[in-house]
């Protein structure tokens, strides 16, 4: 189950970012996970909580944005959702897909920090994200 390694990689990157920006806590993390990323979201959520323990991301909420896998045809202009198991041959003309339009994402989309960064915003430009 490589979701443990994936979760640790996520936390590692967040910690690195937090150190750079002087952040000390994380409220939420959003991941984008493509249908063909080879990652099981449920397993990832389970591992994420464990991976966060004792780190800056301790207790952070995880949301996973699932990204549908889509392909486009190399012969006609067909575009389709490849499904699972994926079909990478065009449902219209039968030719191979030229490439995927989406579906292999495995990325940290956004992090919601527990507090503003160490550098305070200037009074003229109020923080648009301030809660």
């Amino acid at each position: 189950m490589h979701e443990t390694s994936i979760a640790l990689a996520v936390v590692d990157q967040i910690e690195q970012r937090a150190r750079q920006d002087g952040r000390t806590s994380v409220r939420a993390v959003t991941l984008r996970v493509g249908e063909l990323a080879g990652v099981v979201p449920d397993a990832l959520e389970f591992c994420f909580a464990q991976a966060c323990t004792g780190t800056v991301a301790h207790g952070a909420r995880l949301s996973v944005e699932a990204v549908e896998a889509r392909a486009c045809c190399s012969a006609c202009s067909g575009r389709w959702s490849v499904g699972m198991p994926p079909d990478l041959c065009c449902p219209v003309c039968g030719e191979a897909a030229a490439h995927l339009l989406s579906g292999r994402e495995l990325e940290i989309a956004a992090v919601e920090w527990g507090e503003p960064a160490a550098t305070a915003p200037s009074p003229e430009e109020p923080d648009p994200c301030a809660v």
Binding site: M1, H2, S5, I6, A9, V10, D12, Q13, R17, D21, R27, L31, L36, A37, G38, V39, A71, C72, M84, P85, P86, D87, L88, C89, A96, A97, A98, H99, L100, L101, S102, G103, R104, E105, L106, E107, I108, A109, A110, V111, E112, W113, G114, E115, P116, A117, T119, A120, P121, D127, P128, C129, A130, V131
Partner: protein, 280 residues
């Protein structure tokens, strides 16, 4: 500064950067790396032993690194070929990552080695997500595993640059429906070459070695559809920006976007040209 950061950071960026670096390093050493993926018991070790032995007979310097959770049994079997062999123990981890492989390749294999076969941990799920800096990625399946293996493990078969059927001598005995298997491979990886081999019957022995040597010319290597994500590359930042009505800071995204390490390595290269380019 606000509380949200749009990172757009590939989760496996560290592995992928390492893989790109290792690929360049191996290229400089004239060493071709073949990453072999299969389920446990598919006959990778038997096939590899036959390939190593043949390479030795032909005078082609080859080596093998076998990764397992535990035991050095596979390395002992492969060493019978006379080729330099190493065992990498993952201590329970289900896959190899680049940094684990790279530490074995500092002073090894011996200078002049042409091909290094890496027998990944027997597992068709986890190793598929990790680029190891390979020149050629091969996924194997034995005829005893069933024709639907490519559909059950679409990422492992979808990212393969070569598919190898093993234990082909047993095909009739287990009613292996070859046409169904071929159609299933085509469904997830149209255009990939499929070799039929049997270590026991000496069928197709040497073909894997030939394909590995040919991979020195990147133009001969198949570019799987699943490894080409065309239009998405470079565009999704805009899409994502539009989803948010407030002013996020954007950090880190350009450190890697143009370095072919976005997402999970091989699979996230923007197009076939880029795939080839990284292998020169």
């Amino acid at each position: 500064m606000c509380r949200m950061s749009d990172l757009h950071q590939a989760v496996l960026a560290k592995n992928d950067t390492g893989a790109a670096r290792l690929r360049a390093d191996l290229d400089g050493r004239g060493l071709l790396l073949v990453n072999l993926l299969s389920s446990p018991g598919s006959g990778k070790t038997a096939l590899l032993e036959a390939e190593l032995t043949l390479a030795r007979e032909r005078g082609i310097p080859v080596a093998a690194l076998s990764a397992d959770l535990a035991t050095e049994n596979d390395a002992a079997r492969l060493a019978r070929s006379g080729a330099p062999v190493k065992q990498a123990l993952t201590d329970g981890l289900c896959h190899l990552e680049t940094h684990m492989l790279a530490r074995h390749l500092d002073q090894w294999p011996p200078a002049g080695t042409r091909v290094l076969f890496v027998e990944n941990v027997g597992n068709l799920v986890c190793p598929a997500a990790y680029d190891l800096g390979e020149t050629l990625r091969v996924t194997l399946a034995s005829v005893t595993e069933g024709e639907d293996k490519p559909l059950k493990y679409p990422v492992a078969f979808g990212l393969a640059q070569l598919v190898v059927v093993t234990k082909y001598d047993l095909a009739d005995a287990v009613d292996f429906e070859e046409e169904t298997f071929l159609a299933n491979v085509r469904q997830v990886n149209p255009g990939v070459e499929i070799l039929r081999t049997s270590a026991r019957a000496r069928t197709g022995i040497g073909e894997l070695l030939d394909r590995a040597l040919a991979a020195a010319d990147p133009a001969t290597v198949h570019s799987p559809v699943m490894a080409c994500d065309g239009e998405r590359h470079g565009h999704h930042h805009h899409e994502h920006d539009d989803e948010h009505g407030h002013d996020h800071e954007h950090v880190g995204e350009h450190d890697y976007v143009h370095d072919h390490v976005h997402g999970s390595g091989l699979a996230d290269m923007p197009d076939s040209e880029a795939l080839q380019a990284t292998r020169r």
